[in-house]
């Protein structure tokens, strides 16, 4: 258990560093993918429905995003915990999880995250409401699309790895 928690801490820590150091060189119109958010979504999507490990991942992801955002601690944690709860509730309702549901849920996850964060930042800085309207410019949709493509690719890659691992285990048992 402690080993898993430590792995998760280092994993999200490195994701944030990769996001701020490596991915910045692959920006499209200044937008970079939010790797932390994508992996959190995949964890929540792939974990057992009754497991609470996803919430712990949300806590860690939020903490590291807050740490490297330069803003107050708590805003990303709060948003990601709420989003994780909503996603898990949605996963209970959806019977057949296919590509369409994956895309829809990931898009909603990304949109709600961006809207909530912009709302909190606007409120926090007492900024003009026009700052909030800025979000609906082209950059917003590029960011969502960029994250969506990377998210789906990573999801299928990780699902493939999971299947391969499963087959290896089956073969080992047969031997």
């Amino acid at each position: 258990m402690i080993k898993n928690i430590l792995i998760l801490i280092f994993f999200f820590y490195f994701l944030v560093l990769i996001q701020g150091g490596f991915l910045i060189h692959f920006n499209i119109l200044g937008k970079i993918p939010n790797l932390v958010l994508i992996f959190l979504f995949i964890f929540l999507f792939l974990e057992e429905p009754r497991s609470n490990f996803g919430f712990f991942s949300a806590l860690l992801a939020g903490f590291f995003l807050d740490l490297y955002s330069g803003n107050f601690f708590g805003q990303n944690i709060l948003i990601l915990l709420i989003l994780s709860y909503l996603l898990k509730r949605s996963l209970f309702l959806v019977k057949n999880l296919n590509f369409i549901w994956l895309s829809l849920l990931l898009t909603s996850f990304l949109i709600f995250y961006n809207l909530s964060l912009t709302f909190i930042l606007t409120f926090e800085k007492m900024a003009d409401i026009s700052q909030f309207q800025q979000i609906f410019k082209a950059g917003f949709f590029i960011e969502i699309l960029y994250n969506l493509i990377l998210g789906i690719t990573l999801f299928y890659f990780l699902s493939f790895l999971k299947k391969v691992n499963l087959w290896i285990n089956i073969l080992k048992i047969k031997k």
Binding site: L17, F22, H25, F26, G30, G70, L117
Partner: protein, 262 residues
């Protein structure tokens, strides 16, 4: 003493709330600890990212390189002719340079810094010098071509956060070169800058240079901000606006200079 599930939930909630309070009270220390720890790792990722990005750019530009190669051959002949002319000018230039002594380090007191990462949600970057190196808030960051990158926003022990001129929080008093027209360069986010408050009667052209006017604290006069990229003229507005193309590309930045004194 065994706690019920409800009591346990309340206990976890209170511990979380307390932890958040502590994190916010000691955020400077916590951030300094994590940033100091991650500075070498982030530098490593930054360099690798630059390497991979440059490599991919080269691959995608192979066809362009072939065309360019042909064009360059033609230009090469042209340049050979110019070289002989320039050699003459070089002699003249050398004499002038010696007379004017136009060196950056003589104009300003500078501190060289290395860029180690970018803030995830803003147009701001991290540099590897902090309070221990005598860095203070508000100092201007420039590149080797005297182009303004931004100003130091937060100073920690071993590193600092620099807000780029393209960040929405940045507003700089500027002037258009050779026209003596003043305006405000305002960051728009995503590495975009807007030049605002230019009088309607002023004729601004694409390509005009925008420089700092010297009216802001810690910002010397004459630093390059960018060049006019697109005019945004509207009849209903009392001022003209224009998009400025900055003189730096975040991807290619590695070293920069802080102006300590001028």
């Amino acid at each position: 003493m065994r706690l019920s599930l409800r009591q346990r939930k309340v206990f976890i909630f209170l511990v979380g709330l307390f932890a958040l309070l502590v994190f916010n009270l000691y955020q400077r220390e916590i951030r300094n600890f994590f940033y100091s720890l991650s500075l070498p790792i982030q530098k490593f990722f930054w360099q690798k990212g630059q390497g991979v990005s440059n490599f991919l750019k080269i691959i995608s530009q192979i066809d362009d390189f072939k065309k360019e190669s042909e064009e360059l051959k033609l230009k090469n002949q042209e340049f050979l002719r110019e070289i002989s002319l320039l050699r003459e000018l070089e002699k003249e230039n050398k004499t002038l340079r010696e007379a004017l002594n136009l060196n950056l380090e003589k104009e300003f007191k500078l501190q060289i810094v290395e860029i180690s990462g970018k803030n995830l949600f803003q147009d701001s970057i991290f540099i590897d010098k902090g309070e221990k190196d005598g860095i203070r808030e508000g100092l201007a960051l420039i590149n080797q071509s005297k182009a303004l990158l931004g100003k130091v926003e937060k100073v920690y022990d071993n590193y600092s956060q620099v807000i780029l001129i393209s960040d929405p929080k940045s507003t700089i008093p500027v002037k258009i070169a050779e026209k003596e027209v003043e305006g405000i360069a305002r960051g728009e986010g995503n590495f975009k800058i807007l030049l605002d408050l230019i009088p309607l009667e002023t004729e601004v052209q694409i390509g005009d240079l925008v420089l700092t006017s010297g009216l802001a604290e810690n910002l010397p006069k004459g630093l390059l901000v960018g060049k006019i990229d697109k005019m945004l003229k509207r009849d209903i507005e009392s001022f003209q606006r224009a998009e400025i193309l900055p003189f730096f590309e975040i991807e290619n930045l590695k070293f920069a200079f802080l102006i300590l004194d001028f």
